[in-house]
């Protein structure tokens, strides 16, 4: 792996290797002192041009548990505000001796561009526009695999604002590469304009699809990306596409409900449903650290 920009950079063996290494780091996290010296002397910078809480904290925690030095860059209080270009910012930060850059940006493709601008840094996509969020999909796969023993042959249903979701794009690639089948369920206005080339089906009926699903991946309605105007009202959205208590009762006994967070209770998921044992949101967050440790470890060539 040169960089991690898209799940498409990985084949099945590549994803499985990350998940196996993450298993080892999940063990580390259970130790009294959950820290290993693997990346001592290495430096990881998180460059977040778009605000985020959980992804940044998760990456920084992962880097620290590997004993890497962590430099945290936030666009809101930086030279970018003074008019410096992203390219100059990246070149400046790399010049401080960074080994890896975790990049998040509200525009699709920025991590790809950054990977062309760096000389030797590894670049990790921490979420770019509507494009991809590869580590989120990896931690989702890790969580499902942990609970179900594997991904192969599972039926995954992704529900919600797929059009504006970088998580959905990465999930489709990751789950299908690992042998699952993926079905999308959303109002037409929240599906991507074209699904040509996507190895997915589109659900005709959400209730039927829920009954058949092993994994239900809920997505947040991204109001800050203008999704509000893509449905008439939140109430109508919830009635048609939300995981209400009635719909949750249609799920199979061992079905899993994932959500990348932040959840909007009462919109895409009913509050009661979010608290069911099938909803594994906090487990996803815990696993996120181990998966990101694995990605950093494999990219930076640490020694186990």
């Amino acid at each position: 792996m040169t960089h991690l920009l898209s799940i498409a950079d990985l084949d099945r063996e590549g994803i499985e290797e990350i998940l196996r290494v993450a298993d080892a780091f999940a063990e580390v996290e259970k130790r009294p002192i959950p820290k290993v010296p693997t990346l001592r002397g290495r430096a990881v910078a998180t460059l977040f041009f778009e605000e985020s809480t959980r992804t940044r904290l998760s990456f920084e925690t992962a880097a620290k548990r590997l004993s890497a030095d962590v430099l945290s860059f936030s666009a809101a209080s930086s030279s970018v505000k003074k008019g410096e270009s992203i390219r100059d910012t990246v070149e400046t930060i790399e010049a401080m001796g960074m080994d890896a850059l975790v990049v998040r940006h509200s525009s699709a493709g920025v991590p790809v561009q950054v990977s062309r601008w760096v000389k030797r840094c590894k670049v990790i996509n921490g979420g770019d526009g509507w494009h991809e969020h590869p580590t989120q999909a990896l931690l989702d796969c890790f969580t499902v695999r942990q609970l179900r023993g594997g991904i192969d042959g599972l039926r995954v249903l992704i529900v919600g604002d797929i059009r504006h979701s970088r998580v959905a794009r990465s999930q489709v690639l990751a789950y299908t590469t690992l042998g699952a089948s993926v079905t999308l369920a959303a109002p037409g206005s929240l599906l991507p304009p074209s699904l040509e080339g996507w190895p997915v089906e589109v659900a005709e009926d959400l209730d039927d699809a829920l009954g058949n699903a092993d994994v239900v991946s809920l997505l947040r309605l991204q109001a800050e990306r203008g999704s509000g105007a893509f449905v008439p009202t939140l109430r109508e959205y919830t009635a048609g596409w939300g995981l209400t208590a009635r719909r949750a009762a249609l799920l199979g006994g061992d079905a899993i409900v994932t959500h990348p967070g932040p959840m909007i209770r009462g919109v895409e998921i009913a509050g009661d449903v979010a608290d069911l044992p099938q909803a594994v949101v906090t487990r996803q967050v815990t696993n996120g650290v181990a998966v990101r440790m694995a990605v950093l470890f494999l990219l930076l060539g640490g020694v186990l």
Binding site: S107, A108, G109, G129, P193, S194, E196
Partner: protein, 417 residues
């Protein structure tokens, strides 16, 4: 030699800005000490005419000037270019038009000016088209934006009829285009970039065809990029409506797949479309539905393009590569028709430009070496900007000499001033 009348073998004698003699044995008519431009194996033709160049002056001289854009044009084989009015300030007044025309007087090629249809290109009030027409402006457009208000466009067309000028539309419905950064389709969906649907262009083409029918006024469609637009114009022409159209070179050879690199060099408006659209645009040029190939030469500095795809300005260079791109998809007679005499007619420049090569005609000529293989090196372009999508491409065929108003402004691929 090749012009609208056909192909023949001849020498051409030029003196005092005028073609003096054309024929197999006319070199004796040349003045003493006349300069000889070697053209064996080459094609002598009327100079190319670009209907659509952004020369960026006034307002963005760091990216291009009338002088540097004019030099790029001459090197590309052009003897006339129409400078688009989306400058800062825009060409919505006689004063700005006069400034650009004065700058053009010192350029290597004839620089014509297109005027804005509306004040500030804002789509609210008509620009003083009569005052601009009196300065010789023959094309009007708000290019960079379409005139969104159908009633205002209708009024502009009614007004233009009395002036004998042509309105040229950048067809794009702003609401449908939204914040789109590339063609909406399979690639935009996969790349997570906001898209501009083909319908954003086609709906305005359809509206303006209806307005041409309503008013009887001439409409020229700028940079058509979709199969649907080509078909709409084909039907309008079959109906006998007074419409003409152009396509940009990049829409003849590049698709939206180029955007997969997220390199904003490939961001252009209208966006690069699908293989189906590229084929339809090519067929449209070849069957005459699309009259002209026009560059939409749009210089931007590297730092303007080295930004997130969403934030980058649209546009790519064209003047120095258009001929080569055209020759890569059609024969030289077809290329010259759509690069020279047909656009010259639309711009109202015929026969001074694009006219038959005959004694007494203005000496605006290019000499093309169709067998010269060359590779585009962005650093060596005469344009002040570098944003060509064809860097590293190898083409067959290049302009060798350009004679503009009788002056040899390009000789053996080198600008003479």
């Amino acid at each position: 030699m090749l012009d609208a009348r056909g192909r023949r073998r001849a020498d051409v004698v030029v003196a005092d800005g005028v073609i003096r003699a054309v024929g197999p044995d006319v070199l004796g008519d040349a003045p003493a000490r006349a300069r000889v431009l070697e053209a064996s194996g080459c094609v002598v033709a009327p100079g190319l005419v670009d209907l659509h160049a952004h020369l960026r002056q006034p307002g963005a001289e760091e990216a291009e000037t009338v002088e540097t854009g004019g030099r790029a044009a001459a090197l590309g084989g052009y003897t006339a270019v129409v400078a688009m009015p989306n400058t800062d300030p825009p060409v919505d007044s006689a004063a700005v038009a006069r400034e650009v025309l004065a700058l053009g007087g010192r350029a290597l090629v004839e620089v014509c000016v297109a005027g804005a249809i509306t004040i500030g290109r804002a789509g609210k009030r008509l620009a003083p088209m009569g005052e601009l027409a009196a300065l010789g402006v023959r094309l009007f457009t708000d290019d960079g934006a379409g005139v969104q208000d159908g009633a205002l466009m209708r009024r502009a067309l009614d007004y233009a009829k009395g002036l004998g000028v042509t309105l040229a539309q950048h067809c794009e419905d702003d609401h449908l285009a939204g914040a789109g950064a590339m063609h909406e389709g399979a690639w935009s969906s996969r790349l997570g970039l906001p898209g501009i649907p083909s319908a954003a262009e086609e709906s305005m083409v359809a509206r303006d065809i209806a307005l041409a029918r309503l008013t009887g006024a001439r409409v020229h469609f700028l940079h058509l990029s979709t199969a649907g637009s080509v078909e709409l114009v084909r039907r309008a022409k079959a109906e006998g409506l007074p419409v003409t159209a152009e396509a940009a070179p990049h829409h003849l050879v590049l698709t939206d797949a180029s955007c997969a690199s997220y390199d904003a060099c490939y961001k252009v408006n209208p966006p690069l479309r699908t293989e189906t659209d590229v084929t339809a645009v090519r067929v449209g040029v070849l069957d005459g539905t699309i009259d002209a190939i026009a560059t939409d030469h749009a210089p931007h500095l590297p730092e303007a393009k080295d930004v997130p795809f969403d934030d980058a300005p649209s546009g790519m260079l064209g003047l120095e590569t258009a001929l080569a791109v055209a020759l890569s998809v059609m024969d030289i007679a077809q290329a010259l028709a759509s690069l020279s005499w047909k656009p010259a007619t639309i711009a109202g420049l015929s026969p001074r430009h694009g006219g038959p090569v005959e004694p007494g005609a203005a000496a605006n000529l290019c000499v093309i070496d169709p067998a010269l293989s060359w590779t585009v090196d962005p650093v060596r372009l005469a344009s002040r900007s570098r944003n060509t999508p064809f860097g590293g491409w190898t083409f067959m065929g290049r302009n060798r000499h350009t004679v503009s108003a009788g002056e040899a402004v390009v000789v053996d691929g080198e600008a003479q001033r």
